[in-house]
Amino acid sequence: MIEGLIGVRPRDILGSTAGAAVILLLPILGCDDSGPTGLDRVTEPLPATFGRVEVDVAFGDPPFEGEVLIIPSTPADEWRYEVDLDEDGASDERGSVGLGVHVGFRYDEPGPHAIHVILDDGTNRYSQERVVMVNDSTVMSMVREQTVGPESIPADFGRPVLSSTGDALFLVDQNRQALFRVDLAPLTMTRQRSLPFDGLLQAGISVAQEDSNVYVLMSSPDVTGRWQVFSRDLMPMAERRETSFAGPFLEPGPSGLLYAWGLSGLTLFDPVSLEVIRELPPNASDDVALSPDGDNLLVSMFEPRGVALLDSNTLRQIWFTPLPDDWDLRPWRVSFSPDGDKVYAILVGNTPGPAVGMGLAVLDARSGEIRRVVGIERGAPSNLSDLVTSFDERFVAFTTEKGMYVIDVGLELPRFRGLGGEFIPIACCQIAASRSANAFYVANSYRSSIVEVRIDS
């Protein structure tokens, strides 16, 4: 039974919002005092010398099959295990731990399922619980789809950016070398502007927070950039200018400043004067995200492999957390939780097949301490969008070629995945979140369209 919740069954907890909140709190309350590990949620501390108890993959379509891994750090013939897979209070598997045991599970019913593990060293019994999630794709629906630009030429959309008023999306298309505005009510492409890249590599886009200017940064092979500002009607506001940084990715920064990151490193700059305020060298960042309060900047790094928190103004490092390499995964996309207390990092690997290829790490935003790491997909994704937070702050969503994933903020696990297959093939999609409803906008290069997706849960 979960610590502090005697008499309450896991399914009861997980089935309610309050329960979800309680589950969420458990790690904060010091239930895991074993330091950063690759473990899933730990409900009672195991002796640090024991080893680990984890599920190989914690999310999947029904029938969802996986394994609970009970792996001692040294041979544990004296230890015995019991595993209750179906929450009926009776153990379904039991035996000696020995060198380690993998217990298979299978769940057909969508939603969370708790796996209860008892470990007994002959003197003490330790209770562990792991939660796995079976996908419910029915809550996700495609509301509308709007073709963007000529369908005769394949699209290659960058990240769509919501206007400061929340009523329109702007996006650049590298392949068709154009800038588009798509109004959201109703979903209609209302403007397009040719954007000759002149042999430049990629284009990033941002929308000013104070006004409705649309900023476009195109990167050059010589690691410089071309900068152009448009009105929300996509009228050029000034001549194209050169920058000393290449981007091409843009992210809003503090006090009206912007970050450019990518080829030339991470640059904090003034979008009006193009003055560089601070910069970090190339390869310093693979994704960035500004904290909700604007004070900090989250950075994912491939080398060294980990997540860093920087002061958003000085770019000075506050903490850096190397991520565990249990599954040979590296961090790619990062985001803050809506309340700013946690950090999400999507980890990806290079391994095809049944090995864990994508994971979710949750870190404490203040300390950088890893709260949990779980595998969420077998096989590595080849495309991964940004992480975006839903309007009601219950969900964080992203896309891969396997579909759109929706992480339940309360459960810290993906809860829904849908619209995969032909809809979202390899290397297609970027995503933005609505500011007025639990809706997301997926820029689907494969279909040259913007798709509005709603979560009805």
């Binding site: 035996g95 020995g98 993998h102 298979g104 097949g353």
Partner: protein
Amino acid sequence: MKPTAQIALVLLMGVLGCDGSGEEAGPTAPPSPSGPAPSVEVTLGFGDAPLEGTLFLTPPPGSENWRYSVDLDGDGTPDHEGILGLRIGFRYRFAQAGIHSIRTVLRGPDEHRQDVESLVIVNDQGPLRIIAANRVQPLDPMWVSFEGITTSSAGDAIYVANYSGGSLHRLDPTTLSVTGVIEEMSYSIEGLVVSPLDSFLFATYKYTHVAVVDLHDFEIERFQERAGVGGFFIHGIDERRALLGGGNQLSHVDMRNGAVLDVFRAPGDDFTYTWHFDVTSDGGRAAVIVRGEHSAIHIVDPAIMESLGTVPLGPMEYPQLVAFDPSGTRLYVMGNTEEGEALFVAYHLATGTILRSLRLGRSYCSGYCVANPTATIRSGRYVAFEWNGGAYFIDTELDLPRYATQLPGSNVGFSVSASPIEDVFYFLRSDGLIQKLTIDD
């Protein structure tokens, strides 16, 4: 029957779903009234010490109430016992070099008993002894990529080729020193073979060129660009003819005039092609890897160049290398599963059954797959398989990999040939290092 052979045969039962109907199949598990038995698999069957893996018991759909006991350390006492629900796995770890046995007893609901033995082999490089080594110096240090190797039929010369340098080197088999060089072989040279009476050396090239070298004069007799046959692998039939594979077809070619005498065209679409092949010592059968949408291994009669059938691939999605055992009754195959794991499989050809299937860990033959990748030692005891820059040695008495050199990675080639007069292998590393290796049993 030797004890080791008995172990080998018992292993098959249940582990691989072998029906045991082969002529040497030994003890046979009768069909269980309880229905299909759970499968027993080990995740890693060969490796360096300490070797760690997991033994998985997986019930077939609908089966229930199978009881199991697993003895991981061979002491006769079960380490794990229970009733099989869903899939369950038990970790093992072996530190001592040699063959280790994991014994699983399964009892069905009707108390029908099945015993399964899974072998796990911990590598021992101790018996692998290098008795001579030399570095063949490339003519131009800028172009170093040695790949082809073959030994004369009399065992008095070794020939190696530099792919990017386009040179052929003759070596003394005792000192491994270079005794002759032909500089103008043209680059992209791949597989080499000496004709049975040592009159000629036949070479195949990546871009389907072919060359014939007169070994009496050590001069190029014939070079044909874009011959359109083969591309990588070659087997000499007599002083004129050879089989060439690695292209769209396996070709029977008169090397002296370039005439294509017959072909085995792999069934499939335009993207289907042949890959590595091997021929039995009597020349009566060829095993040909065919790649395309669906990989296959065809057993081909070289006399008529027609497929006599295919062997089951099991979980092997991408076969890479094939070799017959010396008797020609068994076929050894190395390849990869869809997930990128290396797999060794031994087939019994008469029955079409899988004798052995062993997982070797995650690795791919990628980037540097050599054109002379297998060889059988003179005594017939071991067959060497080049893999990831090193080699596995298949023990033909066990039908299992018994030893392996270090496997440094896929960016190094490690071509192999065997002496016909002594029990040694010659290995050619892509940087020109040639090693003469024997196995001390």
